[in-house]
Symmetry: C2
Subunit: 597 residues, 2 copies
């Protein structure tokens, strides 16, 4: 059966809700015999029924009087009734599936609402891409709020994206009902420098009485962070240490503690709560970026909540961090984030809180998922041709494009060092051999070449660099998922394979590929904007697994190396990155030469 939403705004149904609570009209659904996780008071209340009308809770307590002939009665069997989880910061594109497939993956994990930042598609397709993903999100059992991407491209002047967003687009988007606020303001240097365009974006959002979400990624809280918050930015998911998270909460900024596939900050950041026993209302758990594999094995927000519990947080407090806290952060607690009269009946049936496996998921009063499977078909969303053909190279890539010329016998070169499961890179200077007037990749030094090729039909230029930490023994990898401009990123140990990898992706409309010795070992096509597959999440997971095996064949021991790789081009996070315009020192925000001397 194809899912159709019965969601209605509260103001449409106040009368029926009031009547149903009293049994003057029958409830549509009554859940009997639950153990309510009450996130308002942080209590567990046993023996609780929940009565539901028009998809909203009308009563929590004893509900027999609300049951009529047509009422569906569901026995919770003593399960905990947990409010549906809200993910306060999520990039759907990172899961490489459509919003529909993402919903199908995360609903069984208890995620019933997301605050999506369609930042990646915005870099490829601009406002039109954002609109497409918003529209796709409107028909799903998953409630999809959208934060309007603020930094497209992420670092103007340092990279070329497929679109650019400025104050005019922000003002326009703030009139769209699905837009809940401004997406992560990554240009914190611009905020602190008083950059007029950046502040115009923030001001347009505040004037529309919407929320400005943050991204402050340096470990500094005494001065810059304060100026950043003073500018009206109310949340941030870039704390990686307990003291970062604590500072944010103390300053009245929601600390969004992140646990995704490639970066797992909860272990450190949650200590801000467990070791200080502070009021946790400003703590929020988010996923940010998650692989299909993670979604299908570990779960989604249920996994993040479980991680917080494992780190010593009381289960009810941990649940608050994924329910009422994000609801308050975004100003939607009248509708979402708790099980209480008037709120949407988004309810998880959980047998055991520590385990946090979600047995059944109710959305708007309908059971939409049971034992890990969504019970409805979700109609696929038709992305238009423009969205499906987004890789536009100037000309086919050749091995010669990757030559790094240098003089003498050796050179002191800047090398990007990646660290497994960390967002940041290190800016290293490494002495590398020069042979035949060029610097080559080196297995001994664990130095690979990296290229970022403009692919949006723009200048078609390319930045070249060196990277260490992938431990490749040969071959090449390429990806059109290359934050944030999503140009064509290639990493390799030999130039022929690098060219093959790049051209393979150009032909299939984008995706990820691993090649060796002139042969494609694994390919994940991502035809929608070069970012998302049109296949079911399980297939994507399998294709990703094949890719990862292929990475391993090349010698890479990292977990989710593609996610680490995809950040090599992100010029807003320390310390050294490569864009289509060249190597960028992202601490001092300046271009630097590959060869120091």
């Amino acid at each position: 059966m194809v899912y159709q939403t019965n969601r209605r705004p509260l103001w449409e149904v106040t009368t029926d809700l009031a009547l149903a609570a009293q049994g003057k009209i029958s409830a549509d659904v009554v859940i009997k015999n639950g153990r309510l996780v009450n996130v308002h008071t942080a209590e567990i209340q046993a023996g609780v029924d929940v009565a539901i009308k028009h998809g909203r809770v009308v009563l929590v307590g004893r509900a027999d009087h609300t049951i009529g002939r047509e009422t569906l009665v569901i026995d919770a069997g003593g399960c905990y009734l947990v409010p549906g989880f809200l993910d306060g910061h999520i990039h759907v594109e990172s899961s490489m599936v459509t919003v529909t497939e993402f919903a199908r993956a995360v609903i069984p994990c208890g995620t019933t609402t997301i605050f999506m930042d369609p930042h990646e598609i915005a870099n490829v397709l601009g406002l039109e891409g954002i609109r497409l993903m918003m529209e796709e999100g409107e028909r799903l059992p998953l409630k999809v709020f959208t934060t309007m991407p603020s930094c497209v491209p992420a670092a103007p002047g340092f990279e070329d994206a497929g679109a650019s967003i400025g104050p005019e687009e922000i003002r326009e988007a703030m009139t769209w009902p699905g837009i809940i606020g401004l997406g992560e303001m990554m240009n914190f240097p611009g905020v602190l420098a008083g950059n007029p365009l950046v502040h115009e974006e923030i001001q347009a959002t505040l004037k529309a009485n919407k929320v400005v979400t943050g991204h402050y990624s340096v470990p500094e809280t005494e001065v810059g962070l304060q100026g950043y918050i003073a500018a009206g930015i109310s949340s941030c998911h870039e704390a990686t240490r307990a003291e970062d998270a604590l500072a944010r909460m103390r300053l009245g900024m929601y600390a969004k503690m992140r646990e995704g596939s490639a970066w797992q900050d909860v272990k450190a950041t949650i200590k801000s709560i467990t070791e200080n026993r502070v009021d946790s209302r400003y703590a929020v758990l988010v996923s940010d970026d998650t692989h299909p594999e993670t979604l299908l094995t570990l779960g989604h927000l249920n996994h993040v909540v479980r991680r917080a519990i494992q780190e010593g947080v009381d289960p009810v407090r941990a649940i608050q961090m994924a329910t009422i806290n994000p609801a308050q952060c975004f100003g939607v607690s009248r509708d979402l984030g708790s099980i209480a009269p008037g709120r949407c009946a988004d309810i998880l049936f959980v047998p055991d809180l520590a385990d946090m496996k979600v047995e059944r998921v109710m959305v708007d009063g309908t059971i939409v998922s049971e034992k890990g499977r969504v019970l409805f078909d979700l109609a696929p969303f038709a992305y238009p041709a423009k969205a499906r053909r987004s890789v536009h190279l100037r000309s086919p890539i050749t091995a010669g494009n990757f030559t790094i010329a240098a003089h003498g016998g050796k050179a002191l070169a800047r090398v990007i060092e990646v660290i497994e499961a960390r967002v940041g890179t290190l800016h290293r200077q490494v002495e590398v051999p020069v042979e035949d007037g060029e610097i080559r990749s080196s297995v001994e030094l664990d130095v690979a070449k990296v290229a970022c090729i403009e692919r949006h039909g723009g200048p078609g230029n390319m930045g070249l660099g060196l990277v260490r930490g992938f431990h490749l023994k040969g071959g090449a990898v390429a990806s059109t998922v290359a934050h944030d401009s999503h140009n064509l990123l290639v990493v390799g140990m030999n130039d022929q394979d690098m060219a093959l990898a790049a051209n393979t992706l150009a032909e299939c409309g984008g995706g990820m590929v691993v090649v060796r010795d002139g042969r494609v070992l694994a390919l994940l096509p991502l035809p929608i904007a070069g970012l998302m597959s049109d296949r079911p999440v399980e297939e994507v997971r399998d294709m990703v697994a094949a890719l990862e095996r292929a990475w391993k064949e090349l010698g890479c021991p990292l977990v989710s190396p593609f996610m680490t790789m995809a950040l090599l081009s992100l010029p807003v996070i320390p310390e050294l990155r490569v864009t289509n315009r060249g190597l960028v020192d992202t601490v001092n925000f300046r271009f630097v030469d590959l060869v120091v001397k």
Copy 2:
């Protein structure tokens, strides 16, 4: 010096705030050496500076780098820095002074923001009255938000007010920037019965994305309260028992615990927190109605916070209930409710938290009050003639108007029994003697006559009843403060004095009066709408004191008997009341005869 506000919306000043935090431009003000009461994390942080620009906090921590040549540096001398208090439910008219004088009284007590429900003036002057008080509130150091009165008259069909407000007026008012939501929805029976007009008011508010505040005044939480909350009503100040308050918080409704002059609920309601150790984010402290005497001796919200602390609440938690919690309740926590970057610099200097005496009050970065005195002149607001001549009787009142005819030697009569310091009355049946064909007041039985006379130029009718509990030995009292229609209420032991009392108020434009034996013992003129004095709060306090002495002279031992009396005509609170239309059984919402048989 006349006060002039420098308040600016956040979106106007984001750039300067970001720059000032870094010291790139100088702070306007820096407070050195404070002990920050951090309501986000519920901590106290010692040795904290606060830097301020354009009336907003830009930095909390070490602020030396923000100090320039022009910066005013204030030494906090180790005082606690407490966020300015927000009163989440307050009727200014209950203090019988103008908004300006109210501000002058409460600011030294630490109240820097109020959510005012101008329900009383609305009953006399309708939308025009609301607009006048809103306008008066705009120029003050006190931040005045207005909730739009929802129930004017309180009980249509049971009383006649000077105006009536319906869905059309609500829709109109929701477009006014100063309106934060809908005022206390007292017509809970209408909500529960599905009354279309009532629901239209709620729906118009929800649709405007504003807050619906509540008033659910029966001790029932299992069914009716749930239907009431399900209709979108998010707060209520009518809990009088711990279990009422706990039920509200569990249901995700803000429990506004009230401590005013005549009703002191905190002792009971705060046990919901102290005896259950629940998360207190849904607990809010409010004053509701406060006498000038209380304001000038006990204080305002500082007194309510102190009371909560006295009852065993941790001081920081108690402060949260008057700062961040009400700010979140009304969705204004980006601007108010804490001391943090971006927020208005509304800061209290408090030497001792348990004592909660406020030494200095800063509003928008300016010290506006010191040691209990406001440092600025507040320009008086000119109420127009219409607002100042609002008592319109059909004809002068005579003693004969108060005759209660009856047959036989005695009669079983319905008597309103008042209870000191409680909102509710009891519906008693008392056997009273009948002499010369009429029921008279009786000192022995402690039964006085009560009359409610329409005074808005409408039908000019009068309801008659009997009241017990005032212990009057003679004379009469009258008041044009008579909730909620504010007709002319008279209580007396003899009919001549009752007539004199009524006519005295008609002549002076309304107020309160005590007479005995044909002589006025005390008179408090309230020329603005018959509700508010145009005199300074201290003078009003003295006049009220004179009135209370006069009440005592009549034999009444009650504290603040005028506030208890003023509710005799309020037909939305149990159990028996008298309006200009007659005696109302307010449990069953029907008119009843004075004589049972």
